[in-house]
Each structure stands twice: as C-alpha cells, then as structure tokens.
Amino acid sequence: MASDDKNHASSILEQPPVIQIADLRFAWKKQAKPVLEIASLQIHREERVFLRGPSGSGKSTLLNLLAGVALPQSGVLKVLGQDMTVLGSAQRDHFRADHIGFIFQMFNLIPYLSVVENVTLPCRFSGKRRHKVLAQGDSLEHEAIRLLDHLDMAHADVLHEPVSELSVGQQQRVAAARALIGAPELVIADEPTSSLDADRRSAFIDLLFRECDSANATLIFVSHDNTLQAPFERTIEFDQLNRAAQAQPKLHVVS
C-alpha cells in the first residue's frame, strides 16, 4: 500500500500542475494600481490547499481569474495545463463549466429550482460533465441523489422542495453536491463555512474532503478563518503570495 501511495504521488507530480501562475499581474483598469501581483504559484493534482487571507486582499479576484471570468494583463495563467490567456471568453466559460466546481459563502442556490435541479445545474451548461454522469450509466437525477445521499441530504421530502425551505447548513451541502456533480477536476470553495456554526464547519470540511478524494478532485479552500486550516495539506498565505497586497498599507495583519 505504501508503495502504491508513492507511485500515485509521483505520477501526480509528473502531470502538469492544476494551477500554474508566473509573474501574473492584474488591475481592474489598465494603468490602475494592480490588485494582484503573483510571482509564482503551483497547485498540484489532488492537493487540498487552504488559501488564507483577509477580505479585500484580492482573493475573489484571483478566483475570477482561475475561473476565466477575468484575464490578467500579463503573466502566465494555466489551469489544468490550459493557458487561459489564449482562450476566448466563450471558451473560458466552457472551460469553467467543464472543469471547475464552485461553492460560495452564501446565496449558493437558485431560489426557483428544486434541490435536484440545483445540483444538476452544471450539467445544463457542460456537455462534458453531463456525459461523465451518463457514461456511468446513471441519470442526472440519480447521480444528484447519490451525491446528496453522501451528504446526508437525500431525504425524499427535501429533494423536490424549493431550496428556500432549507436551512443554511443544508443549502451549503446542496451547493457542495452541485460543485461535485460530473466530477470536475478542480473544486474551489470560497468561504463556504462562514455561515455555519463550529460543529457543522468541521463536518462540512470532512464531507468535502471525502467527496474530493473519491472524485480525485483538487480542492482550493479559501477562508480567513485560521481554525480551519489544520486538515489541509498546504496553507498559502495570500498576503505573502500577492505582492500588490504587500505594497498596500497594512490595514489588516494576519497573525
């Protein structure tokens, strides 16, 4: 088993990194002060990374860049080996739909869709993720229910309810199932636990780990909460990563 792990680890390292950033610079308007300046960042396959930084430090901007919603002014930005800067905006939207699952802090769900419809939403926009589900010989609804079941959310009475009836904790679990459906290679969670109480936070992170493991997905977990970082393999201090943030007056120092 130990040698298997070793082989697995080495094979992962041989593959191109999930995220590769070099000399990246981003400003909202040309010639404005950059909000992001990252000399180098590499995140490998199946890594579970804790990205820590105070709010307003440019984390959300980085997520928008990784998602292909925005493009850097200069530098290298590769996601899953794909150079994002050479793709057109429609191709980047496609790429995001096919390869990345997102969980947000709050307001994760479309209010007028049922639980199952919310979970299967990415399959409406990504043929690839839809095919992955169907290739397993499963219908989209079955796969959604399977994922919800893993997250202890597959109660028959909940599945077709309007999502507004759910508690915040339940909503976050539905959001997790949506991020995971169709096995995207990269899962990005942006402060997903900030609206949960302490017990539910660790339970939620456990769930996320388990699901990412079974889907061989890479997890980037963004938070400003130090207490959550223990189970992660690597912590990246966003303040140290982003030189643009360092250049700004230090209003918020992370201990």
Binding site: N64, V69, F104, Y112, L121, R124, F125
Partner: protein, 418 residues
Amino acid sequence: MAILGLAIKSFRNRKFTTGLTVLSIALSVMLLLGIEKIRAGAETSFTSTISGTDLIVGARSSPVQLLLYSVFHIGNPTNNISVHSYEEISEQPQVKWAIPLSLGDSHKGYRVVGTSADFYQHFRFGKQQSLQLEQGAWFGEGYQAVVGADVAAAQGYEPGTEIIIAHGSGDESFITHADKPFRIAGVLQRTGTPVDRAVYVGLESIDAIHEDFEGDEHDHDPLMRHADHAHESEEGEVSAILIGLQSRGAALAMQRTINEHDHEPLTAIMPGTVLLEVWQMMGTVENVLMVVSGFVVAVGLFSMLIILMTSLNERRREMAILRSVGARPAHVFVLIMGEAVFLTLLAIILGLAMVYALMLFMQPWLESAFGLYVAIGWPNTTELILLSVIALCGFLIGLIPSLRIYRYSLADGMTIRV
C-alpha cells in the same frame, strides 16, 4: 436551450407579480384591439350599408339625421314627405327608380318599413349586391311582410307566420295593430346591414292600418277602400325616398332641384358624402380612444419594466451562480430578455383571447343596439400591425434590464457584494 427552461422556471417562481404584469398588458392589448375591431366593424357596416343609391330625400332636416333614420334605422324622421312630392320626384326624367320608405312602426323592437317592390328590385348594398330571398317571395297585395335574416333567426319566423305590428318604434309598445296581422311572405338572406333587422311591408298596407287605427269607422276593409280612393287622402305620406338616377352626373343638379322644391321643404343628400361626414365625426372619437388605449399599453409595458428592474439586484446573486457553473454573459442576457419576450407574448395571446371572448359575448348586443356587425375572424392587417408594435415595444423595454444585467454580469463575474 437550457437557459429558456430556466427563464420559464424563474417566471413561474414569481408568477403572482409577473402574472399581474401580464394581466395589465393583456388588458391594454384587449382595449386596443377591441377598439380597433369595433372601428373596423363600424367601417365595414357603414360602407356596405348602401350602394347604388344616388340620392336620399326626406323632409327638411339635417343630412346626418336623414341618413341615420332612412338607412341605419336610427332615430326618427322629424317630418314626412307627402305622396304628392314623392310622385312628382319619381316622375322626373333623370330618375331611374325611386323607392319610398315609410317609417314609424315596429315589431318586437324591429323597425317596420313600408315600401314597394322597387325596394326589392333596386336596393343595393356592399359591392352593388342586390337583396336575395332565403325563403318565400316578396310581399304582394294585402297584409304581407318580408323579414330580414336576423328577425327571422331571432323570432323563428318563416313564410306563413303571422305577426302583429305596433305603433311607434319602442320595444314594448302598448298600441298595436292587433286587428290586422301581417302574414310573412318571405325571408331575406343575410346582408350584414340594418336590412337584416327590419320588417318590410307594402306602403299601402301600412297606410291602411293607420287609417283604420286613427278612428275612422269603416264598414269595409280599409285596404279595399284605399284602392277605390287612391291618393285621395292628403295624409298619404312617406318618410324618405331612395333615388337612383339615369346618370350619376345628374346627382348634384337633382339635389339642388329637390332642395329648392316649391311645395314642401325637402332635403336631398348624396349618401356617400354624408356617410363620409358621419364617419369623420366618429373618426375623431376613435382617434382619441386609440391614443388613450395606446397610453394604457405604454403603462402596462412600463409596469413590466418596473417589475424587471426591481428584481435585478436580487437576481445578481442568481446570475453570479449561473456564471460560476459556466453561463456566459450572453446567457444571462437571454435569461432576462427571454422573460420580457415571454411576458409580452403571453400578454398578447391572453389579450387576444380576452378580446375574442368579449366579442363573442358582446357581438349580439353591439349588433342589436348599434347595428354594428363586428366580425369574429383572424386579426386583420391593422390589428397585426398593432400587435407587432406592442411586441416590439415589449422587446425594446426588455432590452433595458437585460443590457444592465449583462453589464453587471461582466463586472461581477462570480463574486458580488450586495
């Protein structure tokens, strides 16, 4: 078309407010189309009521009034013309035919028109169409009547039925000529004109029942007596005369001659000219109604704009989620635009359905009360143009929130701070 499915679900989620918006636009569509339908119906009724008649002659009165009572059976003549004048005019060399019309009686609310066989022979409506009998024959001598298609249909009359004529034009007249029932000789085919709602009897028979009614105690049938003392009575009168001339060019001169008639004050009108005059009078009202209903449509569409705009901020979150799962700004645009298009089209369809339902409900009443036949058929060109303009306005209004959310969605990406 995943995004359209979402648009419909989103619409269903807010079905109460959007439903009210749809209803308000639909009501305005109904108003606009209803007015247009009545206008078109009125125009058709008007233009097809009489044709081939060069002059209408009546006692001195306003031309409009003369046209209304002689052709449309609306209102009453202020005075009658003596039979003497009628004969004098009909004997003029330029006059090809002259149809006498005697008004003043009714049957169950339908006008009774005393006339002659000339009416059946010469009266034209629509595109020079002549009257045709559906059943029976034109009335001959004696107490006989021919009824219009609506009268026959509504009362279930057929040749052989006997009817009682009442004095005056009211629906419920207390003074009837019950002692002299008229036997129906024939039923006319439908014309879509006031002819359908009239009862035609011989001029002599209508004079006869009146003479009888006026208290003269005769031992014998007044109709028989009438034949003996033809035109002896100075009371022999007609209400109006429809005249066809040898040549239309003579109409103006003939009109002047009649207007300057020595023996009694008369008015001659050219029906086409007065029809136009009446139509233009109504046209002003119709234009005002069109403008008002145009404003109502604008208010309806504006309420849609308000509904869409007020929901935008709330929906920015929704758009961010959609962006995160791969929606493009264009998708987000289509989502809002699709809703505006869907709302507008739904409102138009609902408005159309409402206008047809209303027409179906009101058609008999419009016809009996105003002599307006509103055809229930496919929307005409004007209506289609109106509907297209409403649809276009709806789409243009939909562009405002759609473009705004498109810009939001470009700027927000997946992260919004609202």
